[in-house]
Every structure is written in structure tokens, then in C-alpha cells.
Symmetry: C2
Subunit: 378 residues, 2 copies
């Protein structure tokens, strides 16, 4: 054995609750977990032993949705109405950033995440390969990367909410090709996994979404997408697809609602739509600080879990939560859920630990390797 953590209180997350083992030993061999059980049953030798007495040992945390490349924009775009936020606040600020700014910000963001216990990040960025190569690989942090596929014309940043964005399919198609390169480059990579990343239904033409749907099926990959993220998207969808249509209804028509879909946000969906998505196996990510700050809304994570939906938590972009401190984000998740429900038991600490570990890992599709302390896990 390379490493043994002995005499510890373990939260294994390997059953339906926290999987608590008292006086446990966890041993690692060649980077994989080789023993989990009572210290009295461990008879191996380890090159290195950590005395875990008086401490908790638990899986690394999983930040399911982050744009760490925007970390230097922390403190920007505050106190702005949602309808103006993306196009007139975040957008212009983000345009002023250089590639170097983005890498530096991502490095800071990933350090903040690590410091708060995160070992896996669902990263969502344009030219995400730059972040994977320059930040995640050298820092040894697991990443589930999505290359942003967005077809909105570059010159369209100052549109009002009711003017449909002009879409350039070629722009989206180029991002799709970058995604394919990413997949090829990191096929069967130990530390890097990839997802398709169409940004949102109002930002990608339907033909391209169908193409992504088919390629995802062919490659057996997931699709990480912002879904129903507020009033601006709602108006864009009505303008583009007709009155009465919603993001969820159009995604259903396009055949995108399936176990492959990882839907960030969902606060703009109706309760009935969220129930249908959960039943179809769609996984969700809640980004509480960001959505509270931008939309004045509590993400529907408690409701989604009540529908037996799989849900994780993310820090989104720094202008929302102020950074990538994941423990602070879990605290915010719990307080917002409790006040929304008017119930101090509405989101207990054990639920926060579950969404931060095993359920987040399921949301990102990496629960075969992370999110619980089990044999063969990393």
C-alpha cells in the first residue's frame, strides 16, 4: 500500500446516507482505494500512514458548474437587473479580458476550489482546452470540461431582451469542432473528461442542437447546457419558437431531454417541467449565489431532489458568488433553501454533503471514480 489513513471517522457516501464508519482505515495503492473498513480489520503495511484520529475523512468535493476563466471579474456586474445582466454587464466585462487573464483567473479559481475541498470541477468555457492544459493538468485537479458552443453573433452584445439574437451557425459549428478535438485529445484520460456544451437554447440554432444530440449519442457523451436561466431566455424562446413555447418544451421536441442532459439552473422552468425532466433522468446543477445575485431567485434544488432527480451544486462565475469557495456555496445553498421553504430543516447538513460529493459526481457522470470512498475509486 502507498498510503493508509487510520483510526478516522469516515464519511464514505457509499450508501443512501453518509455511510459513516467510526474508527475506519482507508488505504490507497497505485492511486486507487484498496481498503475501506474497520481499522481492526486492516492488516496491510503502508509506505506512508496518516493518523486520522479526531478527523473526518471523506471524498473530495465536486463543483459541478464553474466558469473559472471569469474569476478576475469578481465584484463586477453586481446589483443589475437580470434582463440586462448578461448582455450589458458580464458580456462587456468578459470581452475586455485577454487569454492570459482567463488562464490566470482560472488558476486562482481552481486554487479557491481546492482550498475549500473540491477535487473535481465541471468547467465550462470557450477554448476550454487552454484551461485544461494550463491549469487543471499541472495542478492535478480532475476536470469535466465542456467547450462552450454558442452561435450568437459577436456584435450582438448590446441587444435589448426582446430583440432575437442573430445566430451564425458557422460560429457554433467551429466550437463543435473544437469539442471533437477535445474529445479526441482526452479520450480515456485519467484526469480529464469532456461533455458537449451548447450554451443555451436561445444561443444555438436548432439544427446544430440536433447535430450535437446525434454526436453525443454516437460518442456516448453527456451534454452540459444552461437551461431555463431566466426572463431574458424566456422572451428569446417565445420570439424564436412561438408563444407558449418554453425552453423545456422545445428541448423535448428536439429530443434533447434524456439521461445525457446535464441542465444548469432550471429556475425558469415550471414545477411540472422540472418533474418531467427529473423523470427523464436529466441531471441538474444549482448555482445558488450566482442565481440569487443575478435573478433574485433560489435555485430549485430541494424540489428537484424531491422529484428523485439527481442534482449537484456549482459556483458558476465569480461575479455571482464572489469566487469559487465551495463550502461557502453549500452554506448559501442551505440558507436559501431553508428560507424559501420557511423551514429550518429544509436542507439539512447531510443533504449538503451528499450533493457536494456522490450526487454531484453522478450529475457530472463521474461517480464510477469519484464522489464516494469505495474500492477502486480514486
Amino acid at each position: 500500500m502507498d498510503l493508509a489513513i487510520t483510526n478516522t471517522l469516515a464519511f464514505t457516501l457509499a450508501d443512501d446516507r453518509l455511510g459513516i464508519l467510526e474508527d475506519a482505515t482507508i488505504a490507497v495503492d497505485s492511486g486507487e482505494i484498496a481498503f475501506v473498513g474497520p481499522s481492526s480489520e486492516f492488516d496491510g503495511n503502508a509506505d506512508r500512514t496518516i493518523d486520522g484520529s479526531g478527523r473526518v475523512t471523506m471524498p473530495g468535493l465536486v463543483n459541478c458548474h464553474a466558469h473559472t476563466d471569469l474569476t478576475l471579474l469578481r465584484g463586477g456586474a453586481q446589483d443589475v437587473p437580470e434582463i440586462e445582466w448578461m448582455n450589458r454587464s458580464l458580456g462587456p466585462l468578459a470581452e475586455a479580458m485577454t487569454a492570459e487573464d482567463r488562464v490566470a483567473g482560472a488558476r486562482l479559481g481552481v486554487l479557491e476550489a481546492l482550498r475549500s475541498g473540491v477535487t473535481t470541477v465541471g468547467e465550462y468555457a470557450t477554448d476550454v482546452v487552454e484551461l485544461v492544459e494550463n491549469v487543471y493538468e499541472p495542478m492535478g485537479v480532475r476536470v469535466v470540461a465542456a467547450e462552450t458552443i454558442n452561435a450568437v453573433d459577436d456584435d450582438a452584445t448590446d441587444l435589448g431582451p426582446d430583440e432575437p439574437y442573430p445566430l451564425e451557425e458557422e460560429r457554433g459549428r467551429a466550437a463543435l469542432e473544437r469539442t471533437e478535438e477535445l474529445f479526441d485529445r482526452y479520450a480515456d484520460h485519467e484526469q480529464v473528461s469532456c461533455l458537449y456544451g451548447p450554451q443555451a437554447l436561445d444561443m444555438v440554432p436548432p439544427a446544430l442542437l440536433e447535430e450535437i444530440r446525434d454526436r453525443a449519442a454516437k460518442r456516448d457523451r453527456g451534454i452540459h447546457m444552461h437551461v431555463a436561466q431566466g426572463e431574458r431566455e424566456r422572451r428569446q424562446i417565445e420570439a424564436r419558437y412561438g408563444a407558449g413555447e418554453t425552453t423545456v418544451s422545445v428541448l423535448e421536441d428536439l429530443g434533447l431531454v434524456s439521461e445525457r442532459l446535464l441542465a444548469a439552473h432550471l429556475h425558469g422552468a415550471t414545477p411540472g417541467e422540472r418533474e418531467r425532466l427529473a423523470a427523464a433522468g436529466v441531471r441538474m446543477v444549482a448555482n445558488p449565489s450566482s442565481i440569487a445575485a443575478i435573478d433574485g431567485v433560489t435555485p430549485p434544488i430541494v424540489e428537484y431532489r424531491e422529484h428523485d432527480g439527481v442534482a449537484g451544486v456549482g459556483t458558476d462565475q465569480a461575479p455571482g458568488p464572489g469566487g469559487h469557495d465551495f463550502l461557502r456555496e453549500l452554506r448559501t445553498t442551505a440558507l436559501l433553501a431553508k428560507t424559501e421553504r420557511g423551514d429550518p430543516t429544509g436542507f439539512p447538513a447531510w443533504a449538503a454533503l451528499r450533493v457536494a460529493t456522490i450526487e454531484g459526481a453522478r450529475a457530472l457522470g463521474v461517480d464510477d471514480r469519484v464522489g464516494s470512498v469505495s474500492y477502486t475509486h480514486l
Copy 2:
């Protein structure tokens, strides 16, 4: 001059907004502010000069309501229904603490507060003089101390919510005498001010409250009291004072609703009651993390300010917010207010800075000395 901070961006809080001065100099002489203005107009010499360029200079923050003696209970009493919280969770834990635990916890709590920019704390504790002597005085932190006046029988910790607490007036009277000693000891003290501290209407008999009211008038002091802090109190007040009576209606009858009153919480009051309190000059303290965690409620600080009421923010006791990080508490205040209003502009950053400084100082009655950067301030 002893000290000059030069070329700084100053938030003076000395007008109706933030009182921003660019390229300002602030100079201090014998512990008082002796110059605030454009750097070009400062012609004094200072023994020590701090180059404030690229930095903000602003008043120290004011934590209006804290029980720092309970800081070692951080992480305790989580995810408990409000109706059971005080008597069956916090109470038994607090009883297990020694005087040494309380002082050690207070020292930690005040360090956490200092680290987040707080220089004045509204402390609320039994035997508060122990904390003032052993923590606040040696650490050089300003304190507005209230000695808890509570007449609930010591053996009454396991009562159900509908069993009226047995009150022992003598117990409360002994605490009132400790308060008078505190006042005598710290009369005209530079760093320590004092308030009367009847714990809550359900915990103090009316005759004693009238006595406190009269003594407060005679000494010209404020009264710091938990007011309308939830369902348990509501039931106790109905049981004690009759159906239809509320904490606010009884306080009005007892003549306690005046500019002297500093009311913590108020989430159990009706909007109409809060409007009456604000009109009467009652100051309020919101404790967002604590009240979200214990009651599942967003404190009505935005509403109270809309009624032109003076309001500050506090960290309450550590099992609520997890400690005394005041910047985190301001962040929580803003996010809860935004989601309660469904409005991302519902509690902007400038409002957070105001309640954290000048308005908090007004709530505690120390705005003649702290909360803004003005001549003669400390």
C-alpha cells in the same frame, strides 16, 4: 498628527450615500480624526504615513448583535425546528459550557469579527463584564454591552412550546443589579458603552420590564431586546397575555416602544407592527444567517429601511452563522434579501456598506463616535 493615510479612495459614510472622496487624506491626532479631505489640501506633518493609493479607506464595521460567548458551540444545534431550537438544542449545549469556555469562545469570536473588519460589537451575554474585561478591553475592540436579564427558572429548559415558562422575578432582578454595576463601572468609558438587556418579552415579567423602562429613562440609556423572534415566543405571549396579544402590542402597552429600544430580529412581527415601530424610532438588528438557519426566515431589514427605520446587522450566535465573519454575514444579508424580493437589485452593495457602518452605529447609539469618517470621530 500621529497618522496620515494619503492618496486613498475614502468611503466616509458622512452623507446620505457612501460619501466617496477620491484622492483623499485622512489624518488622526491623539486618537481622533483631525483631517478628512482632498490630499492636495492636507498640509500637516504626521509621525506615520500610510500610502493609501490603490486602496479603500472606510470606517470600521459595526456588528450590532452578537453572543460571542457561545462561539465554541459553532456547528451545534443545526437543522432543528424553531419550536424546539432554544430549549432543546441551544439551551442544553450552552449549559454544558464553563466560564472559561465562554471567555475562550468570545476571544475567538471577536478575532473573527476583527478579521472581517469589525471594530465595534453589540455584545449580549450573561456576566457580560467577564467578556468586557477579559476580551474586549485587552483586545482594544469597542463594545456596546448588554447584560442578559432573563427571569426564566433554570430548571425550565425542557418545557414544550405551549407550557408557559415559570418566571422568577428575583432572578431577573439580580441581572438588573449586575447591569447597574456595569453602568457604574463603565460610565464615560472610551471603549465600552452599555445597554439594558431584557432578553425577550416571554422571559421577563412585566413589572420588571416597567422597572427597566424607568431606569433606562433615568439613566438615559437604550434597551437591547430580542423582539418577535418566532413561533415559540408568539405562543408564550398568547398564553401569558391573552389571545390576540403580540409581543409588539404588549411592548406598546408597557411603554417600551420608543427611540430607546433596539429590537433584534422582528421577523415574528406583522408588517403593520414593523411600520409602527419604525415610526416610533425603534432601531432594529437583522441577523440573517442565524434566523435563516433557525427559523427558515429572511429578516425584514429591507422592509424596515423602507419604513425609514434605522437598522443594523449582527452575527448573533455561532450555531447560526457558523461564526462571526461579518463580511460573510453582509453577503448573506444581500442574497437573502434579493431572493425574498425576487429582485437582484433588492439590497445593493452600497446599502450593505451603510448598514454595516453608519446605520449600525446609529442602531447601537454610538454614531457620535463611530460608523463614519468625520472630524472628532475615533
